[in-house]
Symmetry: C2
Subunit: 420 residues, 2 copies
């Protein structure tokens, strides 16, 4: 760990970052301490304007691309070197919290200021980035900005997507760009030296293990399935067990068999039955139909493939008198971050004396797509009870400052590293 990296990390100002997070949270504030700041809305524009104001006040250079992705550059020693990118998103769920996305952006701004305050110059420029529409709650799907930047999707693909009020994304995007007319335009997909995103964990592990830093090794892959068990309805009072084709009871048998098969002593695999619907769903009727969902996730693509592919057979075996159908609705690949990035983040936490663990990310992030474009990684900080997408979302000032220190040190280390 270069001395400059630790020096820059000491420049992180816990109170400044926290004050800014709280000021940002006033834009779109809703009762209970949450925010409603959906993508490309008036509130989203206000948040962007505030960020640009803060950036200009320190002499950093804001810019924007045609999809509204917003950048803030702190120049490097070599103006021709590709930048190190760090950031997240400013949009929220309709009933979202103050930290999801917003923390990654405020951490990035704090990195730039910490570098300046500490008088540390980097070889590469460091660019803060705000990805457009990560949440996907107003305009589906999410992560549009990072998908367009990395060329995963064309910028034209979603222009006609409508929000609930019939406003097209093209219109909301045009109005957002018009609100920042003075900003220079960047192109999509410019070369990036490395991308690191700071984020709340959105899970309970770091809090439970009392560790301030999660060194993210990967973003786990996911497969979503729907299982439909077809039986026959019958009178609850008159029909003996042996003559029933009870869709609920046979679905339960299937879920129990899947519980056993998905059992992971290391508790890394995620197997969730989150939805279950019955027909006729009546107190005194045997169920004719039971439809339930499976959300399966794992960081290792081989495990994800093997476990997911076995679901149909296991369900079929669990049937006694009913028929079963299994369909896959969604498949998201596993993303593994390069060891060099992961090691750098871990070394930074180590050097700063912050307890940490290597862990996969359970949720998706813009980093899922950046990883296909440049060496990428993430830093997690604990959040209260793992709650996210909720007004109760919370992380402590100390923890968000710790994450930003690790982020700062990692960026300085990566700027000096000849590893890429």
């Amino acid at each position: 760990m270069p001395a400059d990296a630790l020096k820059a990390a000491q420049g992180v100002d816990k109170n400044r970052q926290w004050t800014r997070l709280m000021e940002l949270a006033e834009i779109g504030a809703i009762p209970g301490g949450g925010v409603n700041r959906q993508s490309l809305s008036t509130e989203d524009r206000q948040a962007r304007a505030l960020l640009v104001k803060w950036a200009l006040a320190r002499g950093f250079e804001p810019s924007v691309d045609d999809f509204g992705n917003l950048y803030v550059r702190r120049a490097g020693l070599n103006p021709d070197a590709p930048p190190i990118l760090t950031g997240s998103h400013l949009d929220s769920q309709p009933s979202g919290g103050r930290f999801d996305g917003a923390y990654g952006v405020m951490a990035a701004l704090e990195v730039l200021e910490a570098l300046s305050d500490a008088g540390v110059e980097t070889e590469h420029p460091v660019d803060l980035v705000v990805w457009t529409n990560e949440e996907g709650s107003r305009f589906a799907p999410g992560a549009m900005g990072s998908m367009v930047f990395t060329g995963v999707a064309s910028p034209q693909l979603w222009l006609d997507v409508m929000d609930d009020e019939g406003i097209a994304l093209s219109q909301a995007l045009a109005e957002t760009l018009e609100a920042m007319p003075e900003l220079p335009r960047r192109s999509f997909g410019f070369p990036v030296h490395a991308y690191i995103e700071a984020h709340i964990e959105q899970g309970p592990i770091l809090e439970a293990e009392q560790l301030p830093i999660g060194v993210v090794t990967s973003i786990q892959g996911a497969r979503w399935f729907t299982v439909t068990v077809e039986g026959e309805t019958a009178h609850a009072g008159t029909t003996p067990l042996k003559l029933r084709k009870d869709a609920l009871q046979e679905a339960l048998a299937a879920i129990q068999a899947l519980n056993a098969f998905m059992n992971d002593p290391e508790d890394v695999l995620r197997f969730t039955v989150g939805r279950l619907d019955l027909e006729p769903n009546s107190h005194n009727s045997v169920s004719a139909l039971c439809r339930f969902t499976i959300d399966l996730r794992h960081p290792d693509p081989a495990v994800l493939r093997a476990k997911g592919d076995a679901i149909e057979t296991i369900c079929a075996k669990a049937m006694r008198a009913c028929a079963v159908q299994v369909t896959q609705n969604l498949g998201l690949p596993c993303v593994a971050f390069p060891e060099a990035i992961v090691d750098t983040v871990q070394a930074s936490a180590q050097a700063l004396g912050l307890g940490h663990k290597r862990m996969p990310s359970g949720a998706f992030h813009d980093a899922s797509f950046l990883a296909q474009h440049c060496p990428s990684g993430m830093v997690f900080v604990p959040c209260a009870k793992g709650v996210s997408h909720n007004v109760a979302e919370y992380a402590t000032p100390e923890d968000v400052a710790g994450g930003t220190r690790v982020l700062t040190a990692s960026i300085v280390a990566l700027s000096g590293a000849g590893i890429f």
Copy 2:
């Protein structure tokens, strides 16, 4: 079995009964072969009028009570002897079948005619009865007529109950009574020698065992429960198993434990989970709440009490991290028919060479309440796949004739019997 009993049973005319059942089914006929003939409706009045027409054509004596329960008497040798009552109901579910209730009434009419055709006179009068509003679909609850007749409920109790169109029961009842102005009025709760009701089984047992007659020993009691499991929602991607409070998974564990506890090698106990609702019921969320229902039935009150009382403890034991609450919503007592009635029905089937089995009734009937007033019993006939409350409800002409023969022989035997 007296010779007269068998002689009278031979008077049952399979084709006459079937033709009348089909003619009756034209009143309120709906697509798919079903009927919509809800209580005290125009169609119900038409069905009553048709029955009265058939009764008068044979010289039988119709009468009615103030709650619209309709009677048709074939006189006995002793006019002072209390009548033997037989019948069921003419009202149907909104999407009901041609046999539920209607069969018991047509069987009763056929008994009267068979006695006359066979030239068999009974000591006691035999009264056909049509109970008002057995189904309870238009005016809740059901079995009003038999409850009022037997004094379980006051005739005033439900007069203000409204149907979906805002028509009060008092009005529909008055219009029904006005449509039969010429009929003499009977009082409620007159002495009854015995009551026997013929009915389709509404279950699959007789069909599955290829037996034409069910000798009904009892109407099983029922207890309804709601079980509420409270956990905590969490992100399906980020939350390890050991930190979850998954309401669905713990509800499943409770249901599995209940399945084991309710297991009955004789398959008499009925344990059904028919409703299950989740919150938030979302693909990628661990369930915060799972609410499910239990429909528990058994003919033996001691078993019903013991099994039902244990539910709360079993559910509580099955919890790992969630909380559980169990509440009882309904309790209907077990009704056991007197051995003398059951034996008479069985002897009749035996003497007529009809395969039969003793069995409890899984569903409720007007006989549940008559049993509190006089010695009562029931005769079941098979119905296709056990389907009822459905346009597909079906029983064969041969099976409904067989049931009516057993009913006829039983009534003659009971009229001569000095057992009560």
